[in-house]
Each structure stands twice: as structure tokens, then as C-alpha cells.
Subunit: 611 residues, 2 copies
């Protein structure tokens, strides 16, 4: 693979004359190329002051490429369009009529109920696309099962640093999903599976109470800027269709939704008036817009609802409680369950991925791992097999609120019951006592469950349980979850994970402050915190920091030892290699012996820094 | 045990007329009494709007008791003084002369080098106290081994909710420590051991670069206000003696230090000029002031230093690097190791607890669990036995930077090597890539290591690696670590832990917003976040919140189900008890059967809320 960089290091260097660019010199957007010119995988290249480069996974989309002129009113370039068209298995078609009710507008509009697509999104008018004849499977799962490596799979392989065959095989086995609706050609392919890097989802969405379309688009780009791998639009209020359209046309990452929320809006919030017909109409509407994965609460069965009766916090999933209310109102089985195969037939012609919702997830520590939760999980296992038999990619959602000692059982059971389908969990929160800090209570659980096999983590922001996240909360949630995901990548021994930590720790030990900042998950905040105590520019290169001051710094002492006692002898030559403690040797005797060896070798301890 | 409350609920109600008191009505300071009137154990009582009380552990000291008039210039009342005197095994003595050098002042003062104690601290002049004849062991360990239950042990038993005999036995076995210098009678007894609630330490301290005495006292009271169980004063700059005196005289929690930092100040920062004499003088100085536990880097042996040569980040412990520099400069064994028994003889006459420092802890993911680290740990195991043979209470410090999959080995090995002595770890940080968020990278590791047996967690603030923590950072660090500690208490099945979560989750399910805030680890921030989206006072009692709005709230739907379908029948009567999913039963058949049962029982699902 070759590399194409949006700004070469030389160009970057020229930019130092330009005020703010001084600080941006440390990194820029680059691309890795595949077997064909239109496979260009974005990366973040961090230039270190020691002349080296560190290449990091990049989710920020074209917005961070100064060579691409982005405009939210026009949308992103349709990166995957040629790949989709070239496969020749899809067709454009007129699509479902967009109605005012789709945006929660009840009154007949002056134009007789029909709204122009232009009014929804001013960008390129576009007909929806689906599998030919409305029946052909166009899912990455179908291709993988046929042994095909799609450009999407190759893109992902380059992104993850593995073989395209491995990507294909993991998808074919159902152990990974590559969410990529044919109507969302703007998205950069990514993969969710336990044998790949752990992914993070950020939720956005307006509600009946607050927020606007612009804010949601802004939150989406902001979340991906900090590392969100997918974004779920959970809007529930007005303009739900239009908000989603704007988010999709501008999103470089897969977009997930919960169609039930919009369906409920269409029946004015009365759960009992929901029906398969309203739901199906909503699903098709969202498939045509380009939603990449959908949470479907098909596992909330009528007979499970009474299992929640003695719970501390009942049903806390919105989707779960809506379906429970419907089931009880009609005394019928959940229509998502009874129509599940029909739903599969819809999703597979757009390549929409199932995210089978855990409507009965625990909402408190007391309710974790209870009968209701695991009963639903067993049904999700059943539905997972049905979805796969229809070539529909599928992941399984998980909790919720779970104390640490009950977390592993969740992922072990899910992997067993659901044939290793990717697990996608919300945290879990490891205690209920810290509203305003639930990004942390859940970040703990998220890191652990990801280590044990969860493929994607749904973030939790500081506003969880209290309010809607604003821009700062979105960033805090994403960064917290990137930490959890990366900690899990390290613990799982992902080959690329530790390179990043090593680069940052090297920079720390060598007092390369600017490199430390540029390699940080959040360079801005790291730099700002350093500036608070030692704002002067020379402190950025000082061989100490504000914690200890110049005299006390352990790093400095450690480096002074290396300098004063260092030399060019290999460590082995001074006895370090065999200096392990032998518990059988008298400590004083051992000390004397090693001390003599050490002195005899010329007091050399640390190897010089090799560059 | 009876209870004495600083402000009765009736009094609290009277306070509602007083502006700001409206918000404080939700909780007040209370006391639990022991077998004698001077054993009064502070608690935080949260009054719920449903008329119930929740009693929480309280570390905030007299500052939160409106009946006690505190004054930082006078210091706190000497709570334990009568207990110490009554034991009759201590003596007052003139003590070591306080010198200007103790505060890092080199020039001879106009008064000939001697400074009046009044100049150090304006409160009650006090002679230091020690074990009679300067040789008697006055440690809680010595008493416990003799089978005595001290008032300190009874205080702790009430605080933890266990039998005093259990406290005594855990101390006698060396599995727990009760840090309580006879010269710090102001401190409220607390215990550190894996069979008790997990504790949190907050570091404060000025440095050569920044900070003042007032700020440090303020940080100490602020840290304990949010739940710090102990505070370490890690000051390194000027006024080190005076700062410590002010902190001690005003601290309701045990204070820890690293005497080596001050010793190094006394030799003007030149590690090679350190000596046992300077160190011993400093230890006695701090023992006489009342320091409750001291970090001693006696395990950094000369022969271990070369083991760090190939490390990514060398030696990152300040104490460890100072001792390594000394060892190498003199080519002699660490004087803390060679004089360790002499040190024990000093500590035991004041009841100062050892915190055996991990000077070779890993400072990066790459260095975790390496030979250097575990070689030192084996030496700490040896020192632990020596300390115990001198009746000195001992805990063992642990890392540092450790990826998740290497954490458990740390605590398992420490427990084995150190005869289950309490483990006291710094995090560990589970990744290096997030400077500015190391409270989170380490909070993850802290929760896990505490679950597996660590007794006390040393907090990490957002400023770690970047600067000195300010007031906000101290709070964030403490709250994050309280979350980690409590998550571990839950996972360990501590009998009292889940009550708190249950009370908060009940309040959440029943839309008792004020109770939710008052029960939160940080009521102020929880309330502020809620106010941001829904500031109106009625929203505090609204049966919905801003995430979903009034129509969509799952809690509301869940409660509506309970209301509409609820009744007074027990859950068993409607078949919930036997509604478990039988995989052998055809799903549709099962559904039909349960649906009929459900209908036959009158559609009753949820039990009514029983109050």
C-alpha cells in the first residue's frame, strides 16, 4: 500500500508562518491507498519532533482534510457510490413519498401533503436505491458468504491493518458487521467485531424538549472529530425526518436509529396505536434515507413483561417500554417479533444492519443479569439466526447497569447464545450513585466488557439520567469511551494498540512536550492543562514539569542517571540481564556481588537513547 | 447503638425559611454513638421526600457540622486525645527542635536558628508524645495482638458496620491498618483493609513552582468534603514543615507523607548528599508533628536499578529515582533498607504506619509487571515481615501504569508475597494515550484492582502528567475514585454498598428528583446538569426528564404500565414466577399460554409501590 498525504510535512512546515498553523504542524490528514485509486483510507499522521511519524485511525471524515471543501448544505461526496453501482445488483426507484407526518407535522401542508425532497435537504436530489427487483440481497454478508471481497472490505482491511480475506471471513461467519446502507454512500467503511479494534458509538438527537437540526449535525461532526466510529440519531421530536436527512448526507460514519421512536411520533405518542404497517412504513422511509443500522426491539415478548414486575427500575429502554405497553394493551405478541422475517426481507435489499435491541436491559444495579434480561437475550439469539438466514448483518445490544462482578457473564452468554455476533453494549454503568459522572461509572464497565469481547461501545455522557448532552458532553463522552475502547484493545493484545502508548510514553520520558500533546487523545485539553501551570513557551521543552519542579522530577533524575552513568555498553554487559533476584541468596551477599559487578563494569546503567 | 444528630429533621425543616438552606434540607450531619459518650461516629444522613433516611459514610469532619465552630488557625478538637492519654503508655517530651531548614530556609534567622512553634502554627502549643521511655510500642497492631479493642477500633467498627472484634482481628492479622499517630489526635479513626470498604487517598502538596499553605489546607478540607479517606501531603518546596503542621492540625483524616521529599530539600536537592542521619531526623520531625503514615522507598535495592535500564520510562517514582540516584552515587545499598529495623523502632513509638513505596513501579504500559517491579515487590514482602515483627502497621504501595489484562497479577502477587497486607495502588492507568483524562484511564484500573483486593486507591486527577491539581481537579479526582471504590464495594458484595444504589434507583424510578440529587455522590453537579435543560422548579417533580420529554419517557411508560395494569396481587399470582422461558416450548404456544394466564389474572403486571 502506498500513501497519499493531504498535506506533506514540507507543506506543513511552510505553514508555520501562518499564526494558528504553528500548533497544527504536529499532525495532518493522510491517506492509505488500496489496490485501486478510489480506495483511499483516511489516517491521522502525527509528526514527532524527533522526525518520526505515528499513524492513527481517523474517523473525522473529509472535514479535517484542508484539500476538501465541505459544505453541510451540499453534503459529503458519495465515496462509495461507484462501488455500489458497479456491483450492478441495485436499482434506483421512485421510493416512498415523503410526508409532513414524517417530520411530525400533522396539518395538511398547502401543497397537499407532499413535500419536495429539496425542502428536506438542499443538496443533490437523489432517488433511493435498493437490491434489484426489490428482492436481491445486497448485504456485505451476502457478498462475504459468496467469497467476494468488496471495496468496502478492502477499505476496512487497510484501516484495521489486516488481510482483506480476514475481514471477509469474519463477516461471513457473522462475527463482524460492516454497516453500509447503499443509500449512505458518503460513509467511510468500518467494521464492528471482536477481532477488530473496539468501536465507539455516540448518540445524538433532538427531543420534544430541546435542540435543533443544526445542533445535531454539529454534534455528529464534533463526535466523529473526537473519534466516534458510528453515530446514532435518536431524535424524537419535530423535524425528525429532516434532521436525519441532514445528518446522513453529512456523516462520514455509519448512522444508526431506533425506527420505533419515529413510528411512535406518527401515532402521536400513543403506544397502543402502533402497528406493523406504521412501523414498516417508517423502516422503509429510513432505509431509503440511508440509515446504516437499526435498533429493533423484537425480543421484548409479551410473556417476558411480567418478569420485570419486581424490578427496582422496571423497563428503562424506551423502545422496550413502548413495545411492552403495546403488547399489554393488545394482549398480543410483539409485532416486531411476529413480522421479523418480513423485516429481514426489507433490510437486506438496502444492506441495513440489525442492532437487536435489549428492551429489557437492567436500569439499575439491583436488576442486573435477571431473568427478564436473559430471557430476552435467548430470543435475540433466535432472531440472530433468522436474520442471518436472510443475509442480514446483525449485532446484539447489551446493558446497561451491571456491577463489575456480573459483567463477564453478560458477554460470555451473549457470545454463546448469539453465535458470536458482535455485542454492542451501553456502558455498562458499574454503580447507580453518581449521576453527572455516568460517563465514568460506565467507562469502567465499558473497558471491561470490551476486553472480554464486546465489539462496540455505546457512549454515555455526563448528562445521562439528567439532560440532553451538549457539545462539551458529547466530547467528554466520546473521549471517555475512546479510552475504554483503547484500554480494551491493549488488553486484547491488538497488534497496533500498544504502538500508540509507546510513542506517547517515549515522548513523555524524553520531555518532548509537543509530541505528548499531539499524540494525546485530546491534544487541546492536554496542552491547556499544561499551560495553566507553566504557560511560558520554554516550559514546552523544559526537562521538568510543574508537579515536581526542576529539582525533584523523577523523569529528570532517571534521565540524569542515564546520562551520568550511561555509556555504549549493552545492558547485558553490566549484569542487568542476570540481576534477577534469587530469593535463595542472602540479600546482603547478593547486594555486594551485584554492586561489585556494577562497579567493575564502569558504573554504566542506562543504555543511551538510540534514535 | 443510638444516634445523635447535629441537626434534627425538625430543625432542618425550620431552616427552610433561610434562603440557601432550602437546598440543604436534603441531608445533614449525624452521629452514631458507641459504648461510651466520647465515641461519636459521623455520618451523612440523607432525608428522602418519602420520609425515609439513608445513612452514608462521612469523611468531611467537623466542617460539615453546623454545631461545631471550626477555625483553621485553632485547628480541630483533639478527638482522640483522652483515649491516647488514658492508655497510659505514652509520654510527652520536649521533642526535636524545629529549625528554619525544616521549612527550606537556609539563612540563620535573627533568633539564632530556633523558631517558635507559635510561628509554625498559632493554635494550642503542644509537646509531642511518644511511647513511654521512647521504646514502648503504642501501635494499634500491638494492642490488637494483645486482644485489646481500642476506642479507635470500636469507632471504626461502627463506621464500617461490623463487630469491633472483627476490626481487632483484621488488624492483628496484618490484613488491615488503622493509621493513627498519637500526635494526630484530631483524626477520626478509619481502617484500610480488603475486608472493609475500599478507601480513597487524595494527594495535595505545594511544589517549588507553585501553591501556598492556605491553598493546601483548603484542598485538604475540600478533598475530605467529597469523600477522601486519607490525604497525602506531598509538598516539596518552601514552608514544607509549616504547611504540614497546618494540614495536620486541621485534618479529620489520616495524613500521609513521603519523608524523603523533605530530606532531599534539606540537602538542597542533591540526592548523593542524603544520609540516614538526615532522613532519620526528618522522620522524627514528621512523627512528632503527627503524620499517620509514611511512604518509605526501602525496596529500591542497588541491584534492581539496572533492571530498569531497558524500560520505556525508567524510574518514574520520585522517591524511587532519588534512592536509585543515591545508590548509584555511593555504590552502596539503599540506606532505607539497611536501616529499616531502626526505622521500625522509631515508627512504633508514635504508631506511624508504613506505606512501603513501590519506587520501581511502571510508568508506562510497556513497563508493566516487569522484572524490576516484581523484584522490588518481593523485597517489600520481606520488609513487611520485619515491620510486623516490630509491631508496626504496614501497607504496600502498588502501580502505576498497567494494561487491564495485567492488573490481577499485581494484586494476587502482592497478597501472596506480603501476607495479605493492605495493598494501596495508584490507579493503575490502563493506557498512556490520554493525558488530561488520567483520572479516567486510572479510574478504570482502580475499580478493577479494588474489586480484586486492593484496600486503598490513591487518586489521579485530570492534571496528572501535566500540572498541579487545583480545587476542581481535586474534586474530580476524588469523585472519580469514590466511584471506583464504590463499584468495587458492590462487586465484592459489601453488605452496605448496594443499599445506596438501591435508594438512588428507587428515587429515579419514582421521579423523586430531589432525592436523586441528594443521594448522588455530587449533588451539586447533578442538580446543575438537570437545571441546564429543565431549569423550572416544577421539572424537579415532573414525571419525565429532558432526554425523552413527556411523551417518550420509558420510566413514565413503565410506571404507566404499573398504574394501568397494576393491582394488589402478588407477582406469583399472575404467573411471573413461572414465566421463565422454556427453550423446549414452541415460542408461539408459550406466548399464547402466558398471554391467556396474564389475561385471566386481570391484566395485573406490576406490584404497586409499597411504602
Amino acid at each position: 500500500m502506498t500513501t497519499q498525504d493531504a498535506r506533506t510535512p514540507e507543506n506543513a512546515a511552510q505553514n508555520t508562518a501562518d499564526g494558528g498553523a504553528q500548533r497544527e504542524i504536529g499532525w495532518h490528514k493522510g491517506y492509505l491507498s488500496g489496490t485501486r485509486p478510489d480506495i483511499r483510507v483516511p489516517v491521522r499522521r502525527v509528526h514527532l519532533t524527533n522526525g518520526r511519524d505515528v499513524t492513527l485511525y481517523d474517523t473525522s471524515g473529509p472535514y479535517t482534510d484542508p484539500n476538501i471543501d465541505t459544505d453541510v448544505r451540499r453534503g459529503l461526496p458519495p465515496l462509495r457510490e461507484n462501488w455500489i453501482v458497479a456491483r450492478g445488483d441495485t436499482e434506483e426507484y421512485p421510493g416512498r413519498e415523503v410526508r409532513p407526518e414524517d417530520d411530525g407535522i400533522r396539518h395538511t401542508s398547502p401543497r397537499g401533503g407532499l413535500r419536495n425532497l429539496d425542502a428536506v435537504f438542499p443538496g443533490r436530489p437523489r432517488l433511493p436505491r435498493r437490491g434489484r427487483d426489490g428482492t436481491t440481497s445486497v448485504t456485505q454478508l451476502a457478498y462475504a458468504r459468496r467469497g467476494e471481497i468488496t471495496p468496502e472490505m478492502e477499505f476496512v482491511a487497510i484501516r484495521e491493518g489486516c488481510a482483506p480475506e480476514f475481514v471477509r471471513d469474519e463477516i461471513a461467519a457473522g462475527r463482524a458487521v460492516l454497516p453500509a446502507n447503499v443509500n449512505h454512500p458518503e460513509s467511510e467503511p468500518m467494521i464492528i467485531g471482536k477481532n477488530f479494534l473496539v468501536k465507539v458509538n455516540a448518540n445524538i438527537g433532538n427531543s420534544a424538549v430541546t435542540s435543533s437540526i443544526e445542533e445535531e449535525v454539529e454534534k455528529m461532526t464534533w463526535a466523529t472529530r473526537w473519534g466516534a466510529d458510528t453515530v446514532m440519531d435518536l431524535s424524537t421530536g419535530r423535524n425528525i425526518h429532516t434532521t436525519r436527512e441532514w445528518v446522513l448526507r453529512n456523516s462520514p460514519v455509519p448512522i444508526g436509529t431506533v425506527p420505533l421512536y419515529q413510528a411512535l411520533e406518527k401515532v402521536d405518542g400513543r403506544a397502543e396505536e402502533l402497528s406493523w404497517e406504521v412501523y414498516k412504513d417508517t423502516v422503509i422511509e429510513q432505509c431509503e434515507q440511508g440509515v446504516d443500522y437499526m435498533t429493533v426491539h423484537a425480543g421484548v415478548l409479551l410473556r417476558y413483561v411480567p418478569l420485570t414486575a419486581r424490578r427496582k427500575t422496571g423497563i428503562v429502554s424506551r423502545g422496550g417500554s413502548i413495545m411492552a405497553a403495546w403488547c399489554l394493551a393488545h394482549h398480543k405478541e410483539n409485532f416486531l417479533y411476529t413480522h421479523f422475517e418480513e423485516l429481514c426481507e426489507i433490510l437486506r435489499v438496502y444492506d441495513v444492519t440489525f442492532s437487536l435491541g435489549d428492551g429489557l436491559r437492567p436500569g439499575s444495579i439491583a436488576d442486573a443479569n435477571d431473568e427478564a434480561q436473559f430471557a430476552e437475550l435467548r430470543t435475540l439469539g433466535e432472531l440472530n439466526r433468522i436474520a442471518k438466514s436472510h443475509d442480514v448483518q446483525t449485532m446484539i445490544e447489551g446493558p446497561g447497569h451491571v456491577p463489575m462482578h456480573k459483567i463477564k457473564e453478560n458477554v460470555d452468554l451473549q457470545q454463546e447464545i448469539c453465535d458470536e455476533a458482535p455485542f454492542y453494549t451501553l456502558g455498562p454503568l458499574t454503580t447507580d450513585i453518581a449521576p453527572a459522572y455516568d460517563h465514568i461509572t460506565s467507562g469502567i464497565g465499558a473497558a471491561m466488557i470490551a476486553w472480554w469481547g464486546t465489539a462496540m461501545l455505546c457512549y454515555v455522557t455526563p448528562k445521562e439520567h439528567l439532560g440532553l448532552p451538549d457539545r462539551d458532553d458529547v466530547k467528554t463522552g466520546v473521549i471517555t469511551y475512546k479510552i475504554a475502547a483503547h484500554a480494551a484493545d491493549l488488553a486484547k493484545g491488538h497488534p497496533r494498540a500498544q504502538e500508540w502508548d509507546d510513542a506517547l510514553s517515549d515522548a513523555r520520558f524524553e520531555f518532548r512536550w509537543e509530541d505528548q500533546f499531539n499524540l494525546a487523545l485530546d491534544p487541546d485539553t492536554a496542552r491547556a492543562y499544561h499551560d495553566e501551570t507553566l504557560p511560558a513557551e520554554p516550559a514546552k521543552t523544559a526537562h521538568f514539569c510543574s508537579m515536581c519542579g526542576p529539582k525533584f522530577c523523577s523523569m529528570k533524575i532517571s534521565r540524569d542517571i542515564r546520562r551520568e552513568h550511561g555509556g555504549d555498553l549493552a545492558v547485558e554487559a553490566v549484569g542487568a540481564g542476570d540481576a534477577a533476584v534469587d530469593p535463595g541468596v542472602d540479600p546482603e551477599e547478593g547486594m555486594r556481588r551485584k554492586s561489585e559487578e556494577f562497579a567493575a563494569a564502569g558504573h554504566r546503567v542506562y543504555l543511551p537513547v538510540v534514535d
